[in-house]
Amino acid sequence: MKGKNLRNKITDSQIYKSVFRHTYTDTKENRTLQIKSNVFLHLHPVKIPSHAMKIRFTWCMGGITFFMFLVEVITGILLMFYYRPVPEYVYLDMKYLEFDVPFGIILRNLHRWAAHLMLVTIMLHMLRVFLTGSYKPPREFNWVIGVVLLVTTFLLSFTGYLLPWDQLAYWAITVGTNMIRAAPVIGHEGPFALLNKYNDVRFMILGGTEIGANALLRFYVLHIMALPAAAIIFMAVHFWRIRKDGGISRPL
């Protein structure tokens, strides 16, 4: 009896009630409120059509991509505690992370493998959306946002690729950025080049003519700040528009 009294005292208190807006007895109303009064869950509607629950319809790929993004954010923030984007330190930090930091190697592995997985799932998500014709009106613009998110994901992965500062990273980014100097007009080796080695688009991206300290810092800032911010903004629009455009697509 005493326990119940205490419990009632807590659940009746102003503090508790200010945090938890409804009770948790299993009623239809509470199931609705659980979605409606929770900022994260209210991404979802209260009810969804049963075909939207079927893995064979959705493949669950959009949701998994989002989950991978969350994994990247969490592991990424933890990795940042051990990582300094300066050529003198960066490789030592990588070794430190691998051999000294408790669970450091697993942290890095999680970040790497989740990134690979995210690229796979986002491509499969696009395939699924195409095959179900889900880009058709009124969802045209959400498909365009999806393409933006696809490109952002590729860029996130590409900028992260340089950060370990090993031979694999260095030469992969060399291959990637060497193509950029062949861009027409804005690259110094492309057709109709207007600019030179010191002011073309590749110079802007690398902050120099070679991959060095500036490139590392630029890729780092893009990777941990600019691109994730862009991804979050576009994701917000993407998810919001799913709801506004009538929820998950269904047969007409």
Partner: protein, 229 residues
Amino acid sequence: MTEKKKHLVWPDLAFMEFLTAIALTIILIVWGLLANAPLLEIASPTRSENPSKAPWYFVGLQELLVYFDPWIAGVMIPAIIILCLMVIPYIDRDPHGSGEYTFSLRKLAIINFIFGFLMWLILIFIGYFLRGPNWQLYLPWESWEKVKELEENLWSLNPEIGLISLIIYFGLGMMMPKLIKKDFYKKCGFVRYVIIMLSILLMYFVPVKIFLRLVFNIKYVLVTPWFNI
């Protein structure tokens, strides 16, 4: 078709999402315990890797460097892919097959999309698994120790012949559906028709060029003082 049955998100869907998240977390942790992310020696600008490979998702574009100049393989092709993906909802105005899996109602759209998707994957596969030193073809059981040398026995078409064949390819391609299937052109309208056909022809130009290079050793179809295609 008009299935009215609905599920409550809480707890039905939320429960499934929760289980999926747990399953994925386990998969990632097991994967992370079994395999380490690669870390080679420290970056050195003076010691290049042979082969230097782009990250796997861009290796398909790198593979295209065999067949195209960098400004096409590395810049124009990705830019065109992104643009084409973005315009898909505005050029495919057929309302059929929205929200369901159907092939019979959307043959043209699905065949072309799958073709592009598979080409992207196959190029990645070749670039990632079958390319070794000097970007030569190494089958999985061939050793990279015996480095294959570059064989360059390539030739290019005359500028005149090249220009004519390009005009024939794109011209005929543009005309074809209009002549064979008149209502397709009517349904699309001029602008949409041009964009659809141009993007399809550009996409199929990639395997055509690969074929010309592999079978006839043609380096460029069109040589101009400013750029080569």
